[in-house]
Structure formats: C-alpha cells, structure tokens
Symmetry: C2
Subunit: 346 residues, 2 copies
DNA sequence: CTGAAAGCGCTAACAA
DNA sequence: TTGTTAGCGCTTTCAG
C-alpha cells in the first residue's frame, strides 16, 4: 500500500520554522498550558505556512493512547442499524473519537478477522454487535487485550462486558398483550432466529402474555427467518397459506413487519384490518408506511448514543465498576396497523 | 483516551522468546521470502504463546505506508448508500484495507473536519461522496497531500480526481422517454436539489426527451426537495394538490419514489394506475414495494466496488494515468409502477 | 515557559 | 538466511 507522495512536513520542521524546539511545538499544538501566547501563535503560523498535518498514528504510538474505536456491526442494510450508527457516531464525534467500521454479515469468521484488524490498529475500545455463536475464545482474546467493549443488542452468556439493550421480554409481552387486548387469540410470531437472545426473550414475553390471559399457544404460528424485509415478505406468504391463519402477527422487528405488510397488501389484504401487524424498534419507516405501523420502540438512536458514552467512560477510566447491563424499557407506540379483531374500520 | 491495560507484548519479546533477532521475527511474521520454515514456525509459536498482537500503526509509521482508506459519505440512511458501502467494503477487504467511515450529513464543516481527521490518520486514499458546495480550498488541500481520491456520484467542476458515476443525463432521458412513450405529456420531476450535478443532468435529460418529442415543459412540475422517503412523501402531497396534476412523476431516486407512492396510496390512489411513478437507482426495496417500482438502475453495488478497485490501483501505483471519469450507463428496469396513461389495469 | 534526550513498536538497509 | 544499526514522527521526562 505504498504511494509516492510529497513527504509530509513534520513537527520538527514546523518547530525549526517557528524557531522553537520540537517539544515546545508539540505543546503549543496540543494547547498545553505551559506555552506563551506568543510562541503558540508562531507555531500555528508555521503550521499553516508549511501545510503541516498532524500524525495521529505516531502520536498514539508514542503516548500509548488511542483515539479510534472499532464498530462491529452485523449488517447495515436495515434502518435500525443506521439509527444505532447515527447515535454512536454523534457521541463519538463529540469525544473526538474516530470509528473503524466493519460488518460481519453474521459470519463468525469475518467477525474474527474484523476484530483482529481492529486490535492491530490499537483501537481504544469496541462496540460490538456480536454474531450469535461467537466463540468464547474470541471473547477471551479481547478480554486479554484489556480494552473496553460494549456489547449492543446481543449479550454473551458470561455477561463479562458492558451491555446495552432493551428489555426484550417486556417488549414481547407488551406486544402480545396489546394484541390480546384487541381480541386476538391466534397471534403469529415471525422473523428472527432462535439463535438470538432477543428473539428468545421476545418469544418468552409473548408466551407469558398468553399464559397470563389463560390462552393456549399454537406453536406452529411461530416461524423463524431472517430479520429482513424480504424475509417478512416471504414469511407472511407462509402465514397466509395456513389453513387457519392467525388474526394478528407479532413481527420480530419493524423491517420484518414492513415486509409482511407488503405481502398482505399484495394479496389485497389490509394490514390492521384483515390482519393486525405489530413490530419492534420504531424505525423511521414505521411511521411513514401505510398503514402506519404499531410498534414497540426500542430507541435505537438513544441506545447507540448510550453505548458510545459508556465506551468513552470506560476508555477514560471514568467508570471502573464491574460490567453493567443497561436495559432500556421498550414502549408501545400505537398507530394504525392493529385493530379490534374483525373490525372493518381500523 | 488513555486506558490502563496490560502492556501488549512487542515483536522484540516474541523474537527473544523464539531465540531470534527482531528483524528475523519481523520477516517471519510478514511471510518474507528469506526465512527458513523452521525459524518461521518458532516465531509463530512464540507469537501464539505470548498472545502477540501486531501493531499496524507502528508498522505503517516506519514503512510510511498505509492500510486504511477514508470513506466520506453524506448519509447512511438510504439503502442506496448502503449498497454502495457494501460494494466498497467487499473490495477493500479483498485488499486488506480498513475503512475509516464518516458521514457529513451534507455539511461542509463536518466534511472538512472528517477529512482532516482522516488525513491525520494517514489514510492511503479517500472515497469521497462530496458535499455539493465543497470549497476549492479543501480540494486543493487534499491534492497537496498527494493521496489518491475517488469521487463517487458527485464530481467537482475541475475534474481533477478520479470519478465514478452514472450517465445522469441518459438516466433522465431514458426515464422521461419511457413515460412519454406510455402516453404521458405532463410529467413531474420531484426530489433532489439543483445543487447536485446529478439532479441538473437528470433534469436536462428529462428536458431533452421532452424536446425530442416536441412537447412543452411545464416547469411548475419540477419541485426540488431532499432526497429522502419523507421528502417524496411530502412532495407528492404538493403535486396532488395542483389544480392540474401531472399524470406521471419522475422521481430523483427510488427512495423519493417510494415516499411518493406511499402518499399516493394513502390518498387511495394506485401508483401505476392513477399516476405513473418512476425512480432511479434500483435499490432492493424497489422490487419489493407494491406495486414494484419501475426504475432506472444506477448499479450502486457495482459502482462501490469499482470505486474501491480504482482507489486501490491508484494507491498501489498500478494506474498512473491522469484522472479518469468512469461513467456507467444506466438501464431501464420496467416493473409495475408505470402504465399507459389512463389505463385502468396497470 | 522552553530545550535536550530518550524511546513508543516497528521496518529497512546493510553486514555478517 | 540472520543480526545490527538507524530512525519513522511524535510525546515525555527532566533540566534549565
């Protein structure tokens, strides 16, 4: 990866140009307290004149510090991730931290390689949206390096890292209760994989609601699948082909819900009228789709921001407590995609 | 950004452990040709035993090379960007390049800061989705640093960097011709800003098609706006409130088109029946929405991949020709959202 | 407040 | 094939 370019001007050259020593220039540059206003100006003048560009890598090497953080995502092709990312980015910027971004596409091997690369770059911390079957060995390896890690959305069984997620159990329960309250007794649960703890918990919540209502669950109404629009679209097809379809479907997340609603509409069915649909997350699209999606908000942007803040605190040693799990309470947002069972006008 | 962590083991320690010199270890590590199989194994054993992590920053400092590239995007909240990003990422991985990602949200100031940071990190090149009014001064500054830059989607007037985009003029023309061919004479053009060269060219293509057909353009049918779903949604509202609404609308891109179709449906109108809708890009959603969106594909993934390849070639000095513009020809993809004017069954 | 000297972890000559 | 010696650009003691 070499490239011929005008060799960049160094701090030493700036110092000489300004008639001071290198260390003075270094101090001036970083706004150290112990440098006179006069010298500082001279240094900055020289920097501008020579077109100096600070070498953060060299600085980090010497000072054994890091101003970058690794962002390991599973994918980006879902507004939910984007929302997370925006939240993270904003906070990171505020602290002058630069993100190294990678996506695993749910592959352990890629995740492995990604994290290795990030460690080689000496990131100061990692925000990790982990692949479901992340091997314990990788976890140990990171732990050994000693940099802080904030898990987002997907926790490890050991709970040995900070984690920030939502109360998925409650999310599932809120969702199912809302639907049951509307008179639905046959509620499907589609999308997402049982490999995901969030899936398992949402399902548990959904089952709890059933139990509380004294209703019987038809487990054939639970269909796993990818957590994508396409998957929602296809899964709904399956659902519609049941001999006795559910009257409502709780979708693993909004994007699945939107795919499902698309299929519904394609079949000439009206979501919220012919079948109630409920999602999780509250992505921007949820409030734009027709009908507007009733959903359980998981506050993705907020979560991203908190994850970044937490990571920053750890990196700065501002927080030294043992790993904490921040669990955000989800919130039902009633819009148009659910209705009383059989109601002709949602 | 300091953090107390077990000070990482260095190459020197590995070398000692393996009973060789540091440079031998270095060679072994990088698979240099001049090291015996035996020594190499010893070194790798020691690396594993000591939990050695290569310090890419230090290596880059010494060798004056870089294995990272800057990715400057305007936003991420559009599947079009995601598709680009996926294409870029894939190619970058193949060449062992790590992306530093940043989003400008169309702000010159943020773009400025972002690029500065990337330069400080000594990225080996930049893929730049530029903010419309990028000051010449920034351009010059990058040029002075001497690293390769590949512009994507938005070119600068000077054409002094490599550029990869689509033939927007043709895209606009293809689109309008398709619509005119279907019998439409009043075609709106909504979304996007005249600040964007792509907007201006698409509009020009649309005007050319009109001219070719000997039709008169009603300029009040051209409405600028953001290039977002929300914007498409709102813009369509305006369009529908015209006293004499167009029978077809050419949208700046797919995401605008989808927003527009949502509004249409909300008003009880059927896209492709009551009003023809045509987009640009061919994002995944286009083929999933109901009705499926007729669009002009701009091959985002492919473009991302080519941009990354070009950048890599420049970084490696594989291409030394003057800046080139790669213009990909767009392609009409007929689906369901356009129809003969007045046809009751699209 | 400023300067001199040492050294972060690594690679690149050059010798051996 | 391997070891020795410098030194990348910066920050950090520690004296002045």
């Amino acid at each position: 990866m070499k490239h011929d370019k005008p060799s960049p001007v160094t701090l030493l050259q700036v110092a000489k140009h300004a008639g001071v020593s290198r260390s003075t220039a270094s101090l001036a540059l970083r706004g150290g307290r112990y440098v006179s206003e006069e010298t500082r100006e001279k240094v900055f003048d020289s920097m501008r004149q020579l077109g100096y560009v600070y070498d953060r890598g060299a600085a980090n090497l010497r000072s054994k510090s890091s101003s970058s953080v690794g962002l390991v995502f599973t994918d980006l092709d879902n507004p939910f991730y984007t929302a997370l990312l925006i939240g993270i980015n904003e906070k990171l910027n505020k602290h002058n931290l630069t993100p190294l971004l990678g996506t695993t596409f749910e592959s352990c091997a890629i995740q492995e390689r990604l994290i290795s690369t990030m460690l080689e770059y000496r990131v100061g911390g990692i925000i990790l949206f982990a692949v479901p079957d992340t091997p314990k060995e990788l976890i140990d390896r990171i732990k050994q390096v000693g940099i802080p890690v904030v898990l987002i959305n997907r926790n490890f069984p050991e709970r040995s890292f900070d984690y920030i997620g939502i109360d998925d159990l409650t999310a599932g329960q809120i969702a199912a209760e809302h639907l049951i309250g509307k008179g639905h007794h046959r509620i499907g649960f589609i999308g997402g994989s049982s490999k995901l703890s969030s899936w398992r918990e949402r399902k548990q919540g959904y089952e709890n609601a059933y139990a509380k209502a004294g209703l019987h669950i038809d487990h054939s109404l639970i269909i796993e699948g990818a957590a994508t629009r396409e998957s929602g679209y296809e899964l709904m097809e399956e659902v519609l082909d049941f001999q006795d379809p559910p009257t409502a479907v709780f979708c693993y997340n909004d994007i699945v819900a939107i795919g499902a609603m698309m299929k519904l509409k394609e079949r000439g069915l009206i979501p919220g009228h012919d079948m109630a649909i409920l999602g999780v997350d509250d992505i921007p699209e949820a409030s734009i789709f027709t009908p507007k999606l009733t959903t359980v908000s998981s506050f993705p942007m907020l979560r991203g921001a908190r994850a970044a803040s937490l990571l920053y605190d750890r990196m700065e040693g501002l927080t030294t407590e043992p790993p904490q799990s921040i669990i955000i309470q989800p919130e039902l947002i009633v819009r148009e995609s659910c209705s009383y069972k059989g109601n002709k006008h949602p």
